[in-house]
Symmetry: C2
Subunit: 366 residues, 2 copies
DNA sequence: CTGTTAGCGCCTTCAG
DNA sequence: CTGAAGGCGCTAACAG
């Protein structure tokens, strides 16, 4: 339907090859090789003129067929309606767009089966690379894809059975600091709430919690480790059980924002007389509204946008390495895991005009 | 690199045409025409066998070049890190995936310039259709695209200068009911806070507010209409100014969730002694955490996922119409605007186990 | 029912 | 510096 390269060629009175050559020069990646086929200045102008006169748009589908590169990167998250993932997505998009790549986003619906289906679907689309927050416990299918030559980067979660590059947060350090803050406030009986041990992020967070207790010379009480779940309802249930115990904890660390929300909701529903004093929560993740959560005292803010940018840059590097034929043999680069720091904030200091922290995700890394 | 249709053909001892034919039969849309070219049962099996033996994957890029259809739908939102939009996205994705379409998502960064760039970028990708929440005031560029033959559906916002299909919420009715609820509670001096009048959704919400006042026989006080902005900071600023007034309103209607959040944050920062009694807000939009906002009394919950599903279905219909050559001449179908109802909830009833409403977006519209 | 053929729009040697 | 020609992988007539 649209005007093709041939139309431009005849309009400019040159061959399609020539048009193609000047197009290559002006089409996004002026960073690649640097050296383009030489075209006479005035021919170039004639072509460019014809292009704009005809409002010619390059057809990436055709180009992709020839070059085996679609300039598209697939991004797969466990779910879309999730503030954290979407901030990561914004970061990714920023990097991709600045290099003329397009983002193809899909959700795995928190299901390993769906994840595999989506991956298959996207692979058929000949994407140049893929960024994924894996869902299952193991990532053999991801490793297989990478071994097959597809540039692949994991984000947020790191999964067993792979040696892929990954970008994530300093989960261990985050809960370490969160717990330490509670200890400094004088709390001793501290519970850890939520966390699917199949997820690397949850395991790491639990481990940071343990380290802080150890440092303080407190031997961990297993009954205060309330593992399981990463959703609102899980936080709700854990909290309900904690409230029913004769000896409630003095403070709690929530494994993530959703669990934290569930805990708060539960406190709202059942007046926490059993808690003795005011319940106190230190929660991983921060958002616009965490400051409104009554029990929230500390939060660990991840640099979600930064993680996205980082992952975006990494995938583009890998794509370039592959194209230029460089890179270690078989694409089996040793894994590089990047961990971005998290920021611990006191709840009442969040989102104030004063600390310029009004917008979640506004910070960028590096 | 990958195995091609030719490999499969030779492996199965047939021609590529035959392979293509059985592939068409098993490749997603069994809903389309229904009638496929006949292939002998046993040939079919041989092909399918070869396909799985070689682990052949269809190359959509090549197919797209031939069929002029990529089975991709572009989705453009003003921003990604937005709970509402992402719930819409989930709805869209559900519909698209169920029909073998893939979602290509981009953000316009709330800028009309970026929006145009993204559209251009995606058009080059030969997408089959596009769903967009427009950013600017006018949509001439969108109409142009549609006139050019690209199936196009607007979601959430409706923009001037187009006659495109659209899916949105009953914005007018939402604020009408929200305001009515406040009136029923005895409030008389009610403010309307926030709202970019360039956005159809904001205009409609303001209009519902006016109708409710009129119905109650209250003549609107212009000084209580605090227009401008849809972001957190806007709500914050409006609220600050309201607090400084000698005669503060008794209750307020917030144009959306972000403005609502800003208002609440402001109330937290400046103790609202000027308000006389407890401030009360009725806010458009609902989320997991609205129940924690101290001033929040009512919310209007949009069916975001439903809107997405609706838009997804619509775009697929339009794509099909176009393919089958039906549809009114020039694709200039009269516009169809679908408005999904919103649900008004009392804040303290939200997210309780009892009302089974724990998950925002869990509801779907037919 | 199945094979042959001719491109879809573009890029890329290889000659000129 | 530029043009001609072949083909990326697939599908859609048109013959058999």
């Amino acid at each position: 339907m649209g005007t093709t390269i041939r139309d431009v060629a005849s309009e400019a009175g040159v061959s399609t090859a020539t048009v193609s050559r000047v197009l290559a020069k002006f089409s996004g990646d002026s960073l690649d090789g640097g050296s383009f086929l030489p075209v006479a200045e005035k021919t170039q102008l004639r072509v460019l003129d014809a292009v704009s006169r005809l409002d010619y748009r390059i057809n990436y589908t055709a180009r992709g067929l020839k070059t085996q590169s679609t300039m598209m990167v697939a991004v797969i998250f466990p779910e879309l309606a999730n503030d954290f993932f979407m901030n990561v997505a914004e970061g990714i998009e920023q990097e991709l767009n600045s290099r003329a790549y397009t983002m193809l986003m899909a959700s795995s619906l928190n299901s390993i089966e769906e994840e595999k289906k989506r991956i298959a679907m996207l692979a058929e689309r000949m994407v140049d690379g893929m960024i994924i927050t894996p869902t299952g416990t193991r990532g053999d299918h991801l490793q297989a894809l990478a071994d097959q030559g597809l540039p692949l980067v994991m984000v947020d979660r790191i999964v067993e059975g792979t040696n892929l590059d990954a970008v994530t947060s300093d989960n261990e350090g985050g809960t370490f600091q969160l717990t330490r803050a509670l200890l400094a406030d004088g709390f001793r009986r501290i519970a850890f709430v939520g966390g699917e041990i199949t997820l690397s992020s949850a395991r790491e967070r639990l481990s940071g919690f343990g380290r802080a207790l150890a440092e303080a010379g407190i031997k961990p009480d297993p009954s205060l480790i309330c593992l399981g779940g990463m959703e609102i309802e899980d936080g709700y249930e854990h909290m309900r059980r904690l409230l029913q115990r004769p000896e409630a904890p003095e403070a709690m660390v929530a494994v993530n924002l959703l669990v934290h929300l569930g805990m708060e909701r539960c406190l709202l529903d059942f007046n926490p007389d059993g808690m003795g004093k005011e319940p106190v929560i230190a929660g991983f993740d921060e958002s616009w509204f965490t400051t409104f959560l009554p029990a929230c005292r500390y939060t660990a803010a991840q640099d979600a946008v930064g993680m996205g940018r980082c992952a975006g840059r990494r995938i583009i590097e890998k794509i370039r390495e592959k194209k230029s034929g460089n890179g270690s043999p078989e694409g089996k680069t040793g894994e590089t895991i990047i961990r971005l720091p998290v920021a611990i904030n006191r709840s009442d200091k969040i989102n104030t005009k004063q600390n310029n922290n009004l917008y979640y995700g506004g910070k960028t890394w590096q």
